[in-house]
Amino acid sequence: MTTLVDTIIEQAQTANPSNHSSKDFQSDQDVRWCPGCGDYSILAQAQRIMPDLGIPRHNIVFVSGIGCSSRFPYYMETYGFHSIHGRATAVASGVKLARPDLSVWVVTGDGDGMSIGGNHLIHLLRRNIDVNILLFNNQIYGLTKGQYSPTSEKGKVTKSTPYGSLDYPFNPVALALGAGATFVARTIDRDPKHLQQMLKRAGHHVGTSFVEVYQNCNVFNDGTFSHLTEKGTKDDYVVFLEHGKPLIFGKANDKGIRLSGFTPEVVSLTDGKYSANDLIIHNEHDTTLSFILANMTYNEFLPRPLGIFLDIARPSYDFEMQKQIEYAKRKRGEGDMSALLNSGETWIIQ
């Protein structure tokens, strides 16, 4: 049976979509985030890289849950679904399984994606459905005006925790890896170039891609990431992961990360003790290494890794589902409803 959808898809082949410039991806809705919100930059970068993906905008769907971040789809001139709190990943799974031809993106927050939506997130990562997840991590519930979130640091004082929070935060990268993700990256709102790279890489990865985006909420959690973005400090507090390259950082590229036993430590490259050869060489395809690097995250003595932790190839669930359907059709022939109704034991009454 050729479905009505097949027809739509076919017709669309002939259309010549206008998505050459980032402008083409700006919707007519005016953006309603607080002035100074990190979300603006992420939106801008997303709109900038979209044309490079070379996918007609009518074949792109942005799905979100609820939160400031989840307002994102309204501002993209693509198809969009602002669903309910925590369910974006599940809705997106349905969209992609129904329509493997579409490019499906999820925008979620640390509350939407890691608190109420944690289960759907880890299951999507496990299944490896070809969906791109952007988790805007501002370590706070913005939309509900400032409660702590599952990524807030322990002891955080917020409206809901006047005496300080008691929970240990999730490390989204580690959680994603633990769930069996095939693509895991981290980037930050204030580094447009890097942000763009990560979004592109996510877009190109087949299977679920998970990108944690550090995002400043200047109203309820201002400055959480400033040490990672301020001129004075960022070179010492951030190490960029680049495939095949040693982990070097510092203003003068004068520091590196090496392993002593299994524990990463910072070494100086200037005191003659160690050279680049002693350092961890990043390998995007090494699962174990990805865990080691993920574990650097909350270690105050180590710089924060940004970049791609892991990128491995595995058939996506949606692809396998298509294969299975084709196999069934080959094996049993295209389904025929009357035949089915009349199959098995039947009898005639005169």
């Binding site: 001139e77 198809y79 679904f81 602002h82 669903s83 369910r87 349905g94 069934a328």
Partner: protein, 613 residues
């Protein structure tokens, strides 16, 4: 040697044994053969509670009841005429529903010390007066089975597993049923296991020959074929009919069927059945929970599939927030709730009708949606098909209610002609000029179903209140009221698109029995018995719980008394009382079991005699 042959109108048989004794298989085979033979019938499988029980215990008893005859059969039978008991526990559990004077065929081997103890018999009921009122046929089925297979030296497991076929053979003989259908079925099923096949065939025939040659059964029975509406029939269970109805609707609408579901008793078999039909392009997605089940289906609907989710009460409870979203984004969605006994986990394998209020009202805010109920196993096909038709035409989620009794029960089904099924014609807009996501069809008030992949129709939907027509997020007070009313009016208009309700019986009279869902058979039988006695009693059975058909109020007003039997503590009765301000009377049974026609018959008597509460 010849024997007496009695002709009877209908018979009810109960096959009962240990979970491992293959009673469901035996019952199903007897059912198919009986169907093919041309009797009308109704069946009721009765599994033990979910957790396996130790062999031979009363919780371990598995039963299968079939009521068949030459007349119209509407229920599996309140009581049964014949009990086949493979062990003591099976006898213990079922004896109370066997009619006085009924027959019992026992496998004597199932009554050894151990069995009796497990069943809680202090002494062997076969040897005391327990069964004085019944005609008992003692057969050592186990022994006879092994004898039949002696020379094959098979694994004891295989031998033991075949003994149910001996019982089946005997029943086929007693009721004059052909062996061929079963033989055919066995040949297909065990083509790859010649030894099992050989064993089964031998034992089946052994059971027949044993009955034929020994004197043990003095009578055989004739049950003439029923005068069923002519045509081609098959036997079908409620869950199978549900799965096929969904499939048929998707095919008619030329949409891909997407099922997002999480297993739950008694709904899981719908998922299992649909998963078999990938060659129809069906996409079955076993989600991590019910919320993912429904939200993935909503996502699929957004993308242009027929989104479906199937569950039972506790699952529906989890889906309520998402159903509110479906109402707000106005996408087609079919939600099947195979009701079971609640509240909470309740009695998971038992039936109930207690999710009606949840289906109607279990959402935050004003979130009306159509609710439809199936009344017999085969009617599940029509109910889900109609649900899909309405969901697509009106761009709305629809809840379709069935229950455990329908889901597992079966009946002969006049196979519908696929081409003659109602048409379902969704259309995806493609024209950008003047496109608005929330502009509405004048008659149905449905919004356009514009799907991703359509150039120029890029748009955003979501759970926040929408501006009328444009669909943009909107917080204006007046707009909200307009939209709430529009959403309600859209659902109300479904009433223009469905047939008027019809009563079965006189148009005016003393008592109208109003039912919905699986009470159909019992009510119909009870009402027919009264009408046979010349009482002015009629039956109105509701398929559409929301919106109600336009003529319901008028129909109700034509009777002196309204009786509403429900397998719950009174739910439909609230709706009708509040809607029509009529003093309807409820009859409620909350035992995880269907009504016995008799129970309704008696209540109608009361009402006719005028001694009402």
């Amino acid at each position: 040697m010849t024997r007496k042959t009695k002709s009877v109108e209908d018979v009810t048989i109960r096959f009962a044994g240990d979970s491992g004794d293959g009673m469901q298989f035996t019952g199903t085979q007897f059912t198919n053969t009986t169907a093919i033979f041309g009797n009308d019938l109704s069946t009721l499988p009765d599994y033990p509670a979910e957790i396996r029980a130790p062999q031979g215990t009363t919780f371990g008893v598995s039963g299968f009841q079939i009521h068949f005859g030459s007349t119209e059969i509407n229920t599996p039978g309140d009581t049964f005429d014949v009990l086949v008991a493979m062990n003591a526990a099976a006898l213990k559990v079922n004896l109370r529903s066997l009619i006085k004077g009924g027959s019992i065929i026992v496998n004597t081997d199932g009554f050894n010390e151990k069995n009796l103890k497990l069943a809680g018999y202090s002494e062997n009921p076969l040897h005391n007066h327990t069964l004085a009122d019944y005609s008992v046929y003692e057969v050592d089925i186990t022994k006879l089975t092994s004898l039949a297979l002696q020379d094959l030296n098979l694994a004891p497991k295989i031998v033991d597993r075949s003994k149910n076929l001996f019982a089946l053979g005997m029943m086929f003989w007693i009721y004059h049923r052909p062996l061929e259908p079963t033989i055919k079925w066995l040949n297909e099923k065990f083509s790859k296991k010649p030894d099992v096949l050989e064993a089964n065939l031998r034992v089946l025939k052994a059971g027949w020959n044993f009955s034929e040659t020994t004197e043990i059964f003095s009578v055989r029975y004739n049950i003439a074929p029923a005068k069923l509406y002519p045509g081609k029939y098959r036997n079908i269970t409620g869950n199978q009919a549900t799965a096929w109805g969904l499939l048929a609707a998707a095919q008619k609408a030329r949409l891909t069927l997407f099922l997002g579901s999480y297993p739950i008793t008694p709904a899981s078999d719908i998922l299992h059945e649909l998963a078999k039909h990938k060659n129809f392009g069906v996409k079955t997605f076993q989600a991590e929970d019910e919320i993912a089940g429904v939200t993935s289906a909503i996502g699929a609907a957004f993308a242009g599939s027929l989104g479906v989710t199937t569950t039972s009460g506790p699952g529906l409870a989890l889906k309520t927030e998402a159903l509110g979203l479906a109402v707000m984004v106005e996408l087609p969605l079919v939600v099947v709730d195979v009701q079971r006994s609640g509240p909470s986990t309740g009695l998971p394998t038992k039936t109930e009708q207690a999710d009606l209020m949840q289906a109607l009202y279990g959402r935050n805010g004003e979130a009306p949606l159509p609710v439809i109920a199936a009344s017999t196993p085969s009617d599940c096909f029509n109910a889900v098909f109609e649900s899909a038709r309405i969901a697509i035409k009106y761009m709305t989620p629809v809840i379709c209610l069935t229950d455990g009794y329908l889901a597992n029960g079966s009946e002969p089904w006049l196979i519908p002609n696929y081409d003659q099924l109602p048409n379902i014609a969704p259309s995806f807009p493609t024209e950008p000029d003047g496109f608005f996501p929330y502009a509405r069809n004048e008659t149905t008030l449905a919004r356009p179903w514009a799907i991703p992949g359509t150039p120029g129709l890029e748009h955003r939907i979501g759970g926040l209140e929408k501006q009328n027509i444009t669909g943009n997020v909107n917080y204006e007070p007046e707009n909200h009221e307009v939209m709430v009313k529009l959403r309600a009016e859209k659902i109300a208009r479904v009433a223009n698109d469905i047939p008027m309700a019809e009563v079965d019986g006189d148009a005016h009279g003393d008592v109208l029995v109003v039912g919905w869902g699986s009470t159909y058979g019992a009510i119909r039988t009870a009402v027919q018995r009264h009408r046979a006695k010349g009482h002015s009693v009629a039956h109105l059975h509701l398929t559409y719980l929301h919106p109600l058909q336009k003529n319901i109020g008028e129909l109700l007003s034509n009777y002196k008394k309204i009786l509403i039997p429900e397998i719950n503590n009174g739910q439909l009765i609230h709706i009708l009382r509040s809607q029509y301000l009529l003093p309807a009377i409820g009859l409620n049974k909350i035992q995880g079991l269907p009504f016995r026609a008799e129970e309704i018959e008696i209540k109608i008597d009361e009402l006719l005699k005028g001694n009402t509460p």
